[in-house]
Every structure is written in C-alpha cells, then in structure tokens.
C-alpha cells in the first residue's frame, strides 16, 4: 500500500521558487493500479520521484506498507528502495550490459549470491517473455523489449510496490498495449500495487482502477475511474470521450449523458423517446471499455427548453445516468465557451507549450508531445 499525505516539493533556483507538488494526498490500496494523469510540467514526475525519495519532499509523509520513508537515511533508505520497483520512460538500461546483466544488476546491489542470481534472472526473463534475448545488448532489442527488461529488473527484488514513470510514453500504440497488458497481468498475479504517471488517457482507461488528474502540482479530481467518469464536468471523462462542442438552439435542450457499467444494457434512449413521445436527436457519443466495464457518453438533443424537460431529465437520472445539461447560451457567450472548451480539452490531451514549470518534468516534454498527439487521434476515432 502506498500512502502519501500532504506532499509538497518546492524547487529553488536562482532566487525563484517553483512549487512542483503542492499538497497532494493519495492512497493506493494493496493490489490496485492508480494512475496520475497530467501534462508535462504538472508535477506528476516529481510526485513519483518523491515516493522513493529520488527527490526529497519539503513537507508531507510517504508511507509504503505503513512505513514512513522520510524517517529513513543511508543504508536503511537504500534497503527500502530495493523493495520498491521502478520503471522509466527511457528505460534506464545499462548499455554495456546484456539483457540478463541488466536484470542481474539490482540483485548484485542486494547482495544476492551469483548462483541464485542466475536462477532468479532466468525466472524473471521468463516472466516477461525475454528468455531468448538474455544475451543481447539493449541496443539490439526493440523499445517494447527494453521496457520488458525494465519491468523484469524492477521486479527482481520481489517488490510489493511498482512505480511507473511514463513507462509507455516512448512506445508505439501496439507496444503500449502489450506493455500495459503485462503490467495488468503482473498486478493480478503478484498482487503488485502500482502507482503510475502518464499523459496518455489510454493508459488510465486500460489498466487503472483509480486515477487522479494533476495540474499545477495539485489533484483536480481523484477517485475510482468509473466514478470519475460518471461525475458531471469530469476532466477525465471529457478527455476520454471528447464530444464536439455544441451550442444548444433556442427551444431545445442538449444533455450529456454518461453511463457506467450495467446501465449500458438498458435501451434508455428509446425508452425516453417512447415514454414522452419525443424526437430524440443523438448529436455525438462514444462507448468504451474501461476497467472491464462499458462506459459511454452520449450527447442528446431534446425538443423544448430545459425547464420544459424536467420530467425527462429526472427519468434519465432515475435510470442511473449522470446527466449534464448544456445551458443555452447567447452568441457572445458561445464564442467564449468554445474557447473555454478547447482550452480544457487541450489541457487534458494536448502537449504543453512552453517550458515546464518543474525541472524534473522537463525531460519528458519532447516525447510528451508525440504521445499526446497519438492520444488525440485515438480519441477522435472513438467518437466517430
């Protein structure tokens, strides 16, 4: 279990202060996968590096299985780190060692005897499906294989906790999927608790039990993924199911309906149309499988002002749907709202422009742009 309490990290450089992490609380129960989603510069990388004290937080507590890491120094801290696996965006493999040598490295650090090391390395390579590449050097294998080496290496010390720093951001979509599947599988088989940071919606959608959206060092929303998606105004839902911005016409009501889990099985649109003899217009929508359950958003247009549709809206809410009414707006407000929406969506999906606010996150800026563009393309495909 990972518990983070009121964590703060401030960088000071040349008289300037940048608060990279600004009071984050976070609990990852044992065996869960928690994703922190945010742009580069949001502070998520710093947050992750504070968990194994690669960065020392200025305030707050970090507890791994109830043990306060900030109380540890020197050899004790190093031993605690051996029990926390970490995988990295750019893999962090030793180019001078073979695949097997890389996996053996943490075992050497732990002081595992040579014979046992060899045995354990073979076991780990089998676990990630790299047995036949044991003697290859990292330069000779693909990105996905490199990350598998990273994962095998992270698991060498049989950690209960795994930290993932943008582990799939340097990989293509297919490889990303296979690595995420591996992480999910290891999480289930080994009861591994995973804290991951990413800027890709897709990662959260595919494997996270819970998630948080991070911005300017803080969590703007946090909780179980399905719960977040059903919440009106959720940034996560907007990012995962980008619906086209609409301007309700006078005399009509536009509602955005989010449905999670079993609700999907009910034919609520036709039920609504039949019960109230309405012409329901579907403006847009997306359905996705998230965390094994179906989740979707629909944009519906009903005739009549929202005030005239009170019963209809109540019907939808009673059906267990999250309902958000788009308010009719005047022309001047409309353009402002449009700008607002695009800003929000850019926030959730787009790469950050300009320099990252915190130093530690700066490194993933360039790659961040690539990955985020991919996420946009995927999102648009789902909308069609």
């Amino acid at each position: 279990m990972i518990q983070i309490e009121k964590l703060r990290k401030v960088y000071r450089a040349r008289g300037r202060e940048v608060t990279a992490v600004d009071g984050v609380d976070l609990t990852v129960p044992e065996g869960e996968i928690f994703g922190v989603l945010g742009r580069s510069g949001a502070g998520k990388s710093t947050l992750l590096r504070c968990v194994n004290l690669l960065e020392r937080p200025d305030e707050g507590r970090v507890l791994i299985d109830g043990r306060d890491l900030l109380a540890l120094r020197g050899a004790e801290l190093r031993r605690a780190r051996q029990g926390i696996g970490m995988i990295h965006q750019h893999f962090g493999l030793l180019g001078s060692r073979t695949v097997a040598g890389n996996v053996a490295f943490p075992l050497e650090v732990m002081g595992v005897p040579r014979a046992e090391r060899r045995h354990r390395v073979a076991e780990l390579l089998e676990l990630v499906g790299l047995t036949e590449h044991a003697r290859a050097h990292p330069a000779r294998i693909s990105g996905g294989q490199k990350q598998r080496v990273g994962i095998a290496r992270a698991l060498a010390g049989r950690p209960k906790v795994l930290l993932s720093d943008e582990a799939t951001s340097a990989l293509d979509p297919e490889t990303t999927a296979s690595i995420l599947e591996l992480l999910r599988d290891l999480n289930r088989r080994l009861g591994l608790t995973v804290l991951l940071i990413t800027h890709e919606m897709d990662v959260v959608k595919r494997i996270c039990d819970s998630a948080a959206v991070m911005r300017d060092g803080r969590f703007t929303e946090s909780g179980p993924v399905t719960g977040l998606l059903a919440r009106p105004g959720s940034e996560l839902a907007r990012g995962l199911f980008p619906l086209p911005p609409v301007t309700p016409r006078a005399g009509s009501t536009v509602v955005e309906v989010t449905f999670v889990g079993g609700v999907t099985d009910q034919p609520f649109v036709s039920a609504l149309a039949r019960k109230y003899s309405l012409d329901v217009n579907i403006l847009g929508g997306a359905v996705e499988t998230v965390g094994g359950g179906r989740v979707g958003r629909l944009q519906l247009e009903l005739p009549g002002d929202p005030s005239a549709n009170a019963a209809q809206l109540a019907f939808l809410r009673d059906a267990g749907l999250a309902v958000e009414v788009k308010t009719p707006i005047t022309d001047t407000e409309a353009s402002a709202a449009d700008a607002d929406t695009s800003a929000a969506e850019g926030g959730a999906r787009g790469p950050e422009r300009g320099s990252g606010a915190d130093g530690a996150d700066g490194a993933d800026g360039a790659d961040g742009a690539d990955g985020a563009d991919g996420a946009v393309a995927a999102g648009e495909e789902e909308t069609r």
Binding site: N52, R79, M86, H88, G92, L94, G95, V109, H137, R153
Partner: protein, 218 residues
C-alpha cells in the same frame, strides 16, 4: 652517418620513449580517472555534492592545462626532486609528463562520464545502489568506450611531450631527433625518428580504436 650507424641509436631511444610514456600513462590513467570522477560527482546536484571542492578542482585542472609543457617541466623541478630524488633523466621526466597529462585526461574523463544517460543513474539510485556502485558499475562502466578513446588521445599527447624530455636530461626519440637530427644536421636520424614516432602513434591509435569499439554495444 650511414644507416648502419643510425639504427643502433634508434632502439634505446624508442625504449626510452616507450618507458616514459608507459609509466606516465599508468599514473595518468589512475589519477586522471579519480579527478575526472570527482569533477562530475562533486558538482551541485551530483552524487557527492561539494560545490566548493568542485570549484577548486576545476581551477586546478584549468591551471594545469594552461601551462605549456616545456614551462611546466622546468617549473616543477623542485617537486620532481622530492618525488624521484633527482631532476635529471628519464625518471625525472616522468613526473612532469604525469603532472601535465592528468588534468588533460581528467577533462576527457569528465566528458565521457557526462555522456552517460542520467536516466540510468536515476534507475540505479531507485534500485538502492550505493554511491560506490553507481560510480563503478554505472558511470565508469557505461563510459568505458569514451574513457578508452580519451586515454588514447592522452597517450599520443604524452608521446609528443616526451620529445621535450631532453630539456631535463631525458632521452627518447624526440631527444635523438633534436641532438642528432637538428643540432648535427643528420637528416637520416631525423627521418628515422619521425617515421618511428608516426608508426608508434598510429599503433596506439589503432589499438585504442579497437578496444573502444569492442566496448561499445551499439
């Protein structure tokens, strides 16, 4: 002088050059590595941050590199006398050779180590590696091709410096070229030493390239 008279001069001089270069290389490699590593790890945000020590070390290295070798050799004669008991001869030449080459190699070591992916260092720290392990198993090991290339350049520079060893009564091919080839107008000696020096330098470079290539896994 006939070629038959020239050749007996060449072998001892070659041996002296190789001796001075070899011993100086040995000390330079060890101390240059040490200072190079210290230059990297003592900087702010490094593995062993000590900015004042880092600044001092940087200045010392820069001073060492800015002195022309000929002047350095004469200037440190008192130090040489303390180390080897004499200020004249091949052994005495080794001291300034080493002192001159250490800062040179230290900078090359620093450059090679800075080329190591900081992500690998972070990964090693996350695994709970000690500083010693990070320096030995990550920084130095990952930088090996660069360290070898740097040492090759340093050895060749040292061969060049040995030509000036005659100034403090040392021998070697350089001294031979000056005393016979230049001062006595024996152009055969000059040609022979130049050819030998070229051959030695080419050999050193070839061996260095070979080793560096063997250590590179790309």
């Amino acid at each position: 002088m006939t070629w038959d008279e020239v050749t007996p001069l060449l072998w001892p001089a070659t041996r002296e050059t190789l001796y001075m270069t070899g011993v100086a290389t040995l000390f330079t490699a060890v101390l240059g590595l040490l200072f190079g590593v210290l230059l990297v790890i003592t900087e702010r945000g490094g593995l062993l941050p000590a900015p004042p020590a880092n600044a001092v070390l940087g200045v010392v290295v820069n001073i060492g590199r800015s002195l022309p070798f000929l002047i350095l050799m004469v200037a440190i004669i008192p130090f040489t006398r303390i180390v080897v008991g004499t200020s004249i001869g091949n052994a005495a030449a080794i001291v300034p050779l080493t002192v001159g080459a250490i800062p040179f190699y230290a900078r090359l070591v620093e450059i090679a180590i800075r080329e190591v992916d900081p992500g690998v260092v972070a990964a090693a720290r996350a695994m709970g590696a000690t500083r010693r392990e990070i320096v030995g198993k990550v920084l130095l090991r990952e930088a090996r091709p660069g360290l070898v290339s740097g040492l090759t350049v340093t050895v060749i520079a040292l061969i060049g410096y040995t030509a000036m060893a005659g100034t403090v009564g040392g021998g070697g091919l350089g001294n031979l070229a000056i005393t016979y080839g230049y001062e006595r107008f024996e152009s055969k000696v000059m040609v022979a030493t130049v050819v030998l020096l070229i051959v030695i330098v080419l050999l050193v470079q070839a061996v260095g390239d070979l080793v560096a290539r063997r250590l590179t896994h790309k």
